[in-house]
Amino acid sequence: MNMQIPKKLKILDWFSFFLILFTCWLIFYKTPVEMNMGLVQKIFYFHVAYAWIGMVSFLVAAISAIIFLRKGLFIYDAVTESAVEIGLVFTLIAIITGSIWARPIWNTWWTWDPRLTTTSIMALIYAGYLFLRGSLDNPEKRRKITSIYSIIGCLSVPLTFFSIRGVRSIHPVVFGGDTPDFNMDSQMLRTMLIAIAVFSIFYIAVMWHRIRLAELKEEIEQLKLTSEEDHD
């Protein structure tokens, strides 16, 4: 495999970098400050985008795990592994940014709201995936077992939300909700959608890098095995 980063990926890196800068400019200079929450509301543009990417990433992991189990191609396992790792990082950032927002608005760092609880449990499930992956030595077994675990993990997330939904939620519903104090101005909504789109592009770039890393690691493993066989 070529160690050089592909030209298309380099272009995507720079493209997403400038898009993020543009989004930050949009958020801080071109979008009005929310009347009730003030400046702290700006964190929402990042928080929603990270939470969205976290969710999408775990879904990508489960879908590629299903395809891996059907086709058995290494690349799909690499996609699952990459999606779980990146999804976990984005989910943790979403939890932290949400907590920073909640402190001045809800007067607490944490509340046992169904969405917060489900997101945190989802993070725990996928942290478990990484532990499981790390403690399986046989590559074939590792791929199969972790694929099944990621599918079960993805199944468990909506079940968790479903089981605790009876608890009264104070989390604002950004899209399509009827929370009176969270009716977004059209400019704010536009910025939010741009932020989600831009961070999604950034996610694609990071995924591409991570999948390349997985492929390189696999190649090194294969080279090690071949050299060991040659020695024997």
Partner: protein, 224 residues
């Protein structure tokens, strides 16, 4: 079909015979559960009202923690002396192995629930649980066993098997536990059983999902 049932029965009998000789699963689970039951005395409020309010959650925490020992061992006994290799080499459907292990784990867990509940009520002066509770326990224990055996089949193949089981299993079992605790709490507070039917269907749905995942996933996990 008939032969699958016979296979499952034979495999369950094998597990029960091993248990009757070694006493490494149920007895250990029960003693561990009793230990937690006694430790709780030092952590709990003396107030009967507070104790009653948290009884459902505490009873299930005891069962979940003790049940984990059983899950570790139920697949672990097959690993000893590489019995799993012989089992997989035999002309037995993988789903039959999975179901037999799940039924064995369920039997241990359910028996423990039937012992721990009245004991909790006696020791902590909580109103004795109604017979409705048996159905909730059975459904809760089945879901626990169905998913637990699948995760245990994964973790016995890892380097850190006993440590990894709770890390993987507990976050996944949360939906079942939340609903089961809710229903148990409602039964304890004397709520009408018919009003709990929707929650019972929810537990039943979890059981079906976990069992189906187990039947489909087990074969892939254990095959070479």
């Amino acid at each position: 079909m008939k032969s699958t049932f016979q296979t499952i029965r034979a495999l369950i009998r094998k597990d029960m015979q091993i248990e009757s000789h070694t006493r490494e699963i149920f007895t250990v689970m029960l003693v561990f559960a009793l230990s937690i039951l006694f430790i709780l005395n030092f952590a709990l409020e003396q107030n009967v009202k507070v104790r009653t309010g948290s009884a459902a959650g505490l009873i299930w925490i005891i069962l979940i923690l003790a049940g984990q020992l059983g899950l570790n061992q139920i697949m672990g006994i097959e690993k000893q002396g590489n019995m799993i290799e012989a089992l997989l080499a035999s002309p037995v459907p993988r789903s039959a192995i999975y179901l037999s292990k799940t039924i064995s784990a369920f039997v241990f867990m359910f028996l423990m629930a039937l012992i721990i509940h009245p004991l909790y009520c006696i020791f902590y002066n909580v109103p004795m649980i109604s017979p409705d509770f048996i159905l909730v326990s059975a459904l809760g224990c089945w879901g626990y066993a169905a998913l637990g055996v699948l995760i245990s089949a994964m973790t016995i193949q890892t380097r850190t098997r006993d440590i990894l089981l709770p890390v993987l299993f507990y976050p996944l079992i949360i939906p079942l536990v939340v609903t089961t605790v809710k229903v148990t709490g409602s039964i304890l507070s004397g709520e009408n059983f018919s009003s709990l039917l929707s929650s019972l269907y929810q537990i039943l749905a979890f059981d079906v999902i976990f069992t189906a995942s187990g039947i489909l996933g087990f074969e892939l996990i254990v095959e070479d």
